[in-house]
């Protein structure tokens, strides 16, 4: 396990109500995990605990074997885990794109020539190489988030967290960032964890963990988690529309398993439904 949380409890300040209650969770190296939940379920808090940005009130979180409570290890852990935050503006430090991306390696004391190389590489990786000398102010939300991703990649972490990083973006921007997440996992073998309440984002992950009131409510592949439509609705979340469609059709007594999340798969299923239906009705009338 790359990141391991055991018996995790967390409360903010003097708050009597814990934000995180007794969570055991392991994140495997190279996996793409989505943590979803309603507002207030604790998902952002959990992400920060897993990334070592918050210290557990009780319990242990280890990142690559290092305990996040250990002050002496905290810097090493920060090097391993980067986080892209929700507000695109509030994570950009510099007025020029390449200068912002260089921020992390500069902090690490990397020699200038090596920083230059890293900056060029990561900007290419997120498709922003043309914008290297552009002003950061004029970028769109999606572009700013890509610059933020590049800034994290420049410190060469093993793991990258996205804390509702698509919440403030328009649909096109959201699509770009989700595509970037997949690319990071597939092409760079990075461990990716995204915190979101957008279902179209969660279905792209390998694993979905559902939080409800600070506890783990469901955990499995996207299909496993979303096909239990009633369960998801009880956690105050939504399922993809096609999944809900199958659920509604199933209510009519037909065989309509809800283990479908994507448009094309659903089209296949419905097509087959009509074909078997036609066959059955033909058999009925032509025995």
């Amino acid at each position: 396990m790359f990141i391991n949380a055991k018996g995790l409890w967390f409360s903010y300040g003097e708050s009597p109500r814990p934000a995180i209650k007794n969570i055991d969770l392991g994140i495997e190296k190279g996996s793409f995990t989505a943590i979803i939940g309603h507002n207030g379920s604790g998902k952002s808090t959990l992400a920060k605990l897993l990334a070592g940005l918050l210290i557990p009130t009780e319990g242990v979180v280890t990142v690559a074997g290092k305990d996040t409570k250990n002050e002496s290890e905290q810097f090493e852990i920060r090097k391993l885990c980067g986080m892209v935050f929700q507000n695109p503006d509030n994570q950009i430090v510099a007025s020029v794109v390449e200068e912002d991306v260089a921020f992390a390696p500069e902090n690490l004391g990397v020699p200038p020539a090596e920083i230059r190389k890293r900056v060029d590489d990561v900007l290419a990786a997120v498709g922003m190489e043309e914008y290297a000398k552009h002003s950061t102010y004029k970028l769109s939300g999606g572009q700013k988030q890509r610059v933020a991703i590049a800034g994290i990649l420049a410190m060469e972490p093993d793991c990258i967290f996205f804390d509702e990083a698509t919440s403030m973006l328009d649909p096109a921007g959201q699509r770009d960032i989700v595509a970037a997440m997949k690319k990071l996992k597939e092409e760079k073998g990075m461990t990716v964890v995204t915190i979101t309440h957008h279902m179209n984002e969660a279905v792209e992950a390998d694993r979905v963990v559902v939080l409800n009131h600070g506890e783990i409510y469901a955990d499995g592949t996207p299909v496993q988690v979303f096909s239990d439509v009633r369960n998801i609705k009880r956690a105050k979340l939504n399922v993809p529309q096609v999944t809900e469609l199958m659920y509604e059709l199933g209510k009519s007594g037909r065989q309509c398993p809800t283990d479908v999340l994507h448009t094309m798969e659903a089209a296949d299923r419905i097509e087959r439904l009509f074909k078997t239906h036609d066959k059955e009705s033909k058999q009925r009338y032509n025995p």
Partner: protein, 291 residues
Amino acid sequence: MTKSQNSVITLENVTVKYGAGTPFERVALDGVNISFPKNKITGIIGHTGSGKSTLATLLNGLLKPTAGVIRLEGEDIHRDKEFTNKIRFQVGLVFQYPEYQLFEETLERDIGFGPRNMGLSDDEIARRVEKAAEFTGLDAYTLKSSPFEISGGQKRRAAIAGVIAMEPSVLVLDEPAAGLDPMGKEEILGGLCDYKKKTLSTLLLISHNMEDIAKYADYILVLKEGKVFKFGSVAEIFSEADDLFNSSLDVPQITKLFIELKKRNVIDRTDIYTVGYGARAILAKLGESGL
């Protein structure tokens, strides 16, 4: 375009140019003609840069068009400065992420800010604040809290309440559910529909999210590159869903599904925009063959 039965706001040949005459000149809206139906919910959709936000600021008189006339109940809203200043109380505008407009010591005072600027009596202000709080689901305890102590969702409601308290006959909201989780979205949008029903006002919702618009709107205005691309009832717009899809506009997943099913000759319905309709359409077709 439906020449509306009963329109509350009309735009006649309205053009908005930014930076006119400079090398940075940009046409945000180009000779648009729009009639917003009274007492209905109209969704406004379009890509970033299609002119949606410009349209919003035109409607309450904040922005003056470079050319053309905007009428509220038939009257030119820019006929004189005094009239224009009153328009913003009749056409309420809630911006994106409106939480940042909160500043008073308590929510109660903040929601009353608009009414106070209208010069109303204290009793009237109190009445309006109470009503607005009720519509947005803010309880008495929260009303006494400082806007800086409450949650993001509550701030959003307070900001919307602040505009509702002016009792505008038209309410324009730019992405009112932006950044909210599914439940938060339903509460805000459902609450707004409720508000519109009870007060017989008109609602204009700007949104990127087709699934939301499909669920709550009566009419849809589609803007593309500063021009009106489509306008009609929700059913009319979705009967031409391919056009939306081909313009790279986000259509609800259920609509995409039926566009695909039509391609495969499984079922010929492309006017499906909610899951409910979709299920009914499929069951109906299955039922046709006698099973």
